[in-house]
């Protein structure tokens, strides 16, 4: 049995006196697509942000490929350069896109390639062109984010993350800020990446998408993992889990 790519053990995080994550254990295997669902405030986004250490954590460990992300073995916070190196191994796509507004679509993708991966401009341009083509935006390479629709911006965001060839892709409610008619084009890109074996951990409110695209669904509530399992089994077991049941009930009418 291979060691999982991502191993989270006893992860704890508080904001002030509010415990946001209460001892989370989670493994994600290579090539696995795991969806995290749950009511807002359940700690989903915080969990994701701990994985690339955008958020510090108070206890437990997060390991990618066996290496602890934010801290050294003696629980000393890693230096900024080491942190930057670790973060380059995880890609992240944000709810609000967070493109660099002064850079074109291509330059957004190229920045990490040239500055972090030390590619030449020409190499970076080629890789950016490849990925922008993959997300259907080859013709928008020279467009500024302000000239793109939300769905297009988010696809650039995905291209920017995957162009770095991360070991794992973290998706943080990437369709929540989109107009309904633009959701599909973004999910299509994610589906394509999943089919190619990209390891992904995605926080999402698209329950139907989570059911169809993920190999496992994790249901979070009150800072804990309240249930997890393969999509069909998890949804089928909801009857026995009141919190999961009431959460899913809200979606049943519209999404199922």
């Amino acid at each position: 049995m291979h060691e999982p790519l991502l191993t989270i053990r006893d992860l704890k995080k508080s904001f002030g006196r509010t415990e946001v994550l209460k001892s989370i254990d989670l493994d994600v295997g290579r090539g696995e697509v795991v969806a995290v669902i749950g009511p807002s405030g359940s700690g989903k986004t915080t969990l994701l942000r701990c994985i690339n250490f955008l958020e510090t954590y108070d206890g437990g460990s997060v390991r990618i490929d066996g290496a602890e992300v934010g801290y050294t073995e003696g629980r000393k916070r890693r230096g900024e350069r080491a942190l930057a190196r670790m973060r380059a191994e995880t890609g992240m796509v944000f709810q609000s896109f967070n493109l660099f507004p002064h850079l074109t679509a291509a330059q957004n993708v190229m920045l990490g390639l040239t500055k972090v991966r030390r590619k030449t401009k020409a190499e970076a341009r080629e890789i950016a062109g490849h990925w922008l083509g993959r997300v259907g935006l080859g013709h928008k390479a020279e467009a500024l984010p302000s000239e793109l629709s939300g769905g297009q911006q988010q696809r650039v965001g995905i291209a920017r993350a995957v162009a770095m060839e991360p070991k794992i892709l973290l998706l943080d409610e990437i369709t929540s800020a989109l107009d309904p008619e633009l959701v599909g084009e973004v999910l299509e890109v994610v589906r394509g990446l999943a089919a190619e074996g990209m390891t992904m951990l995605m926080v999402t409110h698209e329950i139907a998408f989570a059911r169809d695209a993920s190999s496992r669904i994790v249901f979070m509530a009150d800072g804990t993992i309240a249930a997890e399992g393969p999509p069909v089994e998890l949804i089928a077991s909801a009857e026995a889990n009141p919190r999961l049941f009431s959460f899913l009930a809200r979606f049943r009418a519209s999404h199922f």
């Binding site: 690339n52 955008l54 190196r85 944000f94 507004p101 990490g112």
Partner: protein
């Protein structure tokens, strides 16, 4: 009353005004450049610094922003050489004063610009593995420039007008030129009217040009 305007003496001595305007612009540009350097460095130190450095920078900013420029000009030109062993001509002394004065304003401009950058953009920079220095160079400063540009334009135009204060230590800029014409011809109204018009037109042309530059950047800012 019956004061009859006669501009001919002004035109005869126009080189004093024209040369003065050139020097005024030069004073403003040099002071702005040095002020930008001071402002940038201190703003970056401020947002990443500890409590003590922040306090030291705040003291500098508040001290210079709340003191009349004319007093600073007197203190630096007449006062400082009495205390320490330095010599400088009036122009150098004024540029030094105006630069430090501009720096105090620009620290604030750049600091608020840096703090106005959405956290999401900084997070995006962290997420792709940029080091803090790289985030500063490729994400935060470019974003800050766009946010700060309007305030920077306003500061430049203020500085241009502030150069008139250099006349009190006989730096031969535009206001001094007008004074010279007045003292030598007693055509006070004509001399100052023409000088005022020159400040006005120059200031307006600068404003227009700077707004054009800002608009070029605006596209990128609205993302």
């Amino acid at each position: 009353m019956g004061y009859s305007l006669n501009f001919s003496v002004v035109w005869r001595n126009f080189d004093k005004l024209w040369g003065g305007l050139a020097l005024s612009l030069e004073l403003a540009v040099i002071s702005l450049a040095i002020g930008i350097a001071i402002g940038l460095v201190l703003a970056v130190i401020y947002v990443s610094g500890g409590r003590f450095t922040r306090m030291a920078i705040a003291v500098y900013v508040e001290a210079f922003r709340n003191t009349p420029l004319i007093l600073l000009v007197y203190l630096v030109f007449y006062g400082l050489p009495q205390i320490v062993d330095i010599r400088y001509d009036a122009t150098t002394s004024f540029v030094a004063t105006l630069s430090i004065y501009a720096g105090a304003y620009l620290v604030e401009v750049f600091r608020s610009g840096l703090e106005a950058i959405p956290q999401g953009q900084i997070d995006a920079g962290r997420a792709i593995g940029l080091t803090p220095l790289q985030r500063l160079a490729y994400v935060r400063l470019p974003a800050m420039v766009r946010i700060s540009l309007p305030a920077l334009s306003n500061t430049f135009i203020s500085l241009f007008k502030d150069t008139s204060i250099a006349s009190v230590i006989a730096v031969p800029e535009l206001t001094w030129g007008a004074q010279w014409i007045n003292l030598n011809t007693f055509r006070i109204v004509e001399a100052y009217l023409v000088a005022t018009a020159m400040y006005l037109v120059t200031g307006y042309v600068m404003l227009f040009g700077l707004r054009l530059v800002e608009r070029r950047f605006q596209v990128a800012r609205n993302a």
